[in-house]
Symmetry: C2
Subunit: 125 residues, 2 copies
């Protein structure tokens, strides 16, 4: 039992292929951190609310949410903070919201590496 | 002058903070690859259409689009392919659409590293 939980929060979609991509995207993270889980804002399960409830039932006393978003839009600036306040009150657990992964230099470095390796069929002059 | 162009395609937003995050996210890639540019699907400039037009005006004969999306939703499965076909016909340049960056193992590794480094205030038992 971990006293801390990390929730990797994705937007969610009704398209199972979309969720499958996110499950693959977080698989190495979930393997590396036994206290990490994936959850979805909407349209897919588990929801953020269910995930927080489950964590508190397991005795978790502190939660960190890492948004799987490239940038902060309306959801991250408004909807998620409001939902977090409500969940903190309902379950009596402090929830910390990190910056979206897209603001982290590791993401920029990964995108650089993908772009650098992109093959082109024509030689550059 | 490069005969090839890589267009890093983001969704776009009317919020300048959103676009600023994407500009920071692609800065290392643009620095590493002089043939790379950023463009937006909607709500921000340059648009994909403008970016393709500019490339052909500069003599580019082949374009690769790398979507800055974590997963393929409706935009990438339907809207973007349709727009690409239209742009190929209008400008007479072949355009190749890569998988979204979120499907690349480098992104999963970067997210793992972010999660692994996430500090917790309580010790794990």
């Amino acid at each position: 039992m971990n006293a801390h939980r990390i929730i990797l929060l994705a937007h969610g979609s009704s398209d199972p292929r979309w969720c499958a991509t996110f499950e693959a995207l977080v698989a190495p993270a979930l393997q590396a951190r036994p206290d990490a889980r994936i959850a979805y804002m909407e349209l897919a399960e588990p929801s953020l609310g269910k995930s927080v409830e489950q964590a508190t039932l397991e005795g978790v006393r502190e939660i960190t949410i890492i948004p799987l978003f490239l940038a902060a839009g309306r959801h991250l600036r408004r909807d998620i903070p409001a939902e977090i306040r409500e969940l903190e009150q309902r379950h009596g657990v402090p929830i910390r919201l990190q910056s979206p992964v897209g603001e982290h230099p590791y993401l920029a470095a990964a995108i650089r590496d993908i772009v650098v390796e992109t093959a082109v069929s024509e030689q550059e002059p």
